[in-house]
């Protein structure tokens, strides 16, 4: 687990702890990961975020657990 530093929040993204600046939105996180919000689905603390437009106003919080998934090859 990453220790929280002042001005940062620690959250879990796809099973790995990450530290991001306080005040970051989900949209900001996706942008920093170079992910196109239209091609991924995000589950936050067990709840699927269906409204992608809400990503820009969704503030990340300490101890959030995010799952960011997409479609891959499969049978």
């Amino acid at each position: 687990m990453t220790e929280a530093v002042a001005g940062e929040v620690v959250l879990s993204v796809n099973g790995t702890y990450r530290s991001v600046p306080s005040g970051w939105t989900l949209a900001k996180l996706l942008a920093s990961l170079e992910l196109d919000a239209r091609t991924v689905v995000v589950e936050r603390n067990g709840t699927i975020l269906r409204d992608r437009l809400s990503f820009a106003s969704l503030d990340l919080a300490a101890d959030d657990s995010l799952e960011i998934v997409h479609f891959v090859g499969g049978g």
Binding site: N14, T39, V41, E43, I48, F71, G73, G74, G75
Partner: protein
């Protein structure tokens, strides 16, 4: 003339197109997108197969980007019907979660539902499958349920609201072909919803024999992707599915234990 299309064109027309949950599909062959050497090879193979329905899996984004896994960069969702699966799920609640995530991607509410019960054989957990089917049907999903070749389970899945039932020919990725033609035939005869045989087809003759049982379609992945030349095998599978379908529609001759000459027995030369 009723058979003019059969005689005049190379491509046979299926008199009854495949319809699942009111949606008409132009191909009875559905294909997976896993295990290809490259995305370019996958796309060429899918094109060669003529498939409209292509399956995809839901997985975590690799945040380190060590692999180019995202498939939507390569598959045009306007051109193909994306069918998300719940592969890798070993209980009903995981399968439900994956189905919900897939639907949230925004393409459709269809899911190829897999609840696996055994790691070694990947045979389905039919109890979990039935539970997950009921829940997802209640939530408005169109459930295509991957199951074993058991009639009673297939009937229960239909009762639970599955829009198609997908019995296996043999275990996933095994390439063993259809192990129990009687079971597959019986499921097809007893169900009202489409029966799509899923898994186990290893080569074109396997696909042809499956279709000759009268089932509505086949879904395959490894049989194409693991061939030495996947693109040519995809084309062969397309032909085999069509051949098997038309052989079924033709009504095969009865099997006999004795020979019956094809040529006249009269008019032979005297000795």
């Amino acid at each position: 003339m009723a058979h003019a299309d059969l005689i005049s064109t190379a491509t046979l027309t299926d008199p009854q197109p495949l319809v699942i949950a009111g949606h008409e599909f132009h191909s009875r062959l559905m294909v997976g997108t896993g295990k290809y050497a490259s995305n370019a090879q996958m796309i060429d193979a899918i094109e060669a197969s003529g498939a409209e329905v292509v399956t995809v899996a839901v997985r975590r984004v690799d945040l380190d980007r060590s692999k180019d896994e995202a498939i939507l960069h390569h598959l045009d969702p306007d051109h193909f019907f994306l069918l998300a699966n719940t592969a890798g799920c070993f209980n009903a609640s995981d399968a439900i979660r994956y189905a919900r995530l897939a639907r949230a991607a925004g393409f459709n509410e269809w899911v190829k539902l897999e609840v696996i019960g055994d790691q070694q054989t990947l045979l389905p957990d039919t109890i979990g499958l039935l539970q997950a089917t009921k829940t997802l049907v209640d939530e408005g999903f169109k459930v295509l349920a991957y199951t074993n070749d058991d009639l009673v389970t297939a009937l229960k899945l239909e009762d639970a609201g599955a829009v198609a039932v997908m019995p296996l020919a043999s275990p996933i990725g095994s390439g063993l072909g259809m192990l129990n033609p009687y079971a597959i035939r019986t499921i097809k005869q007893r169900l009202s919803v489409p029966v799509i045989v899923d898994a186990g087809v290893g080569t074109a003759s396997d696909a042809c024999i499956v279709m000759e049982q009268g089932v509505d379609g086949i879904l395959m992945n490894t049989g194409i992707a693991a061939a030495q030349d996947p693109i040519r095998m995809a084309a062969a599978m397309k032909l085999a599915v069509e051949a098997g379908r038309h052989a079924y529609l033709s009504g095969r001759m009865p099997r006999r234990e004795v020979a019956v000459p094809s040529s006249p027995t009269v008019g032979m030369l005297g000795s």
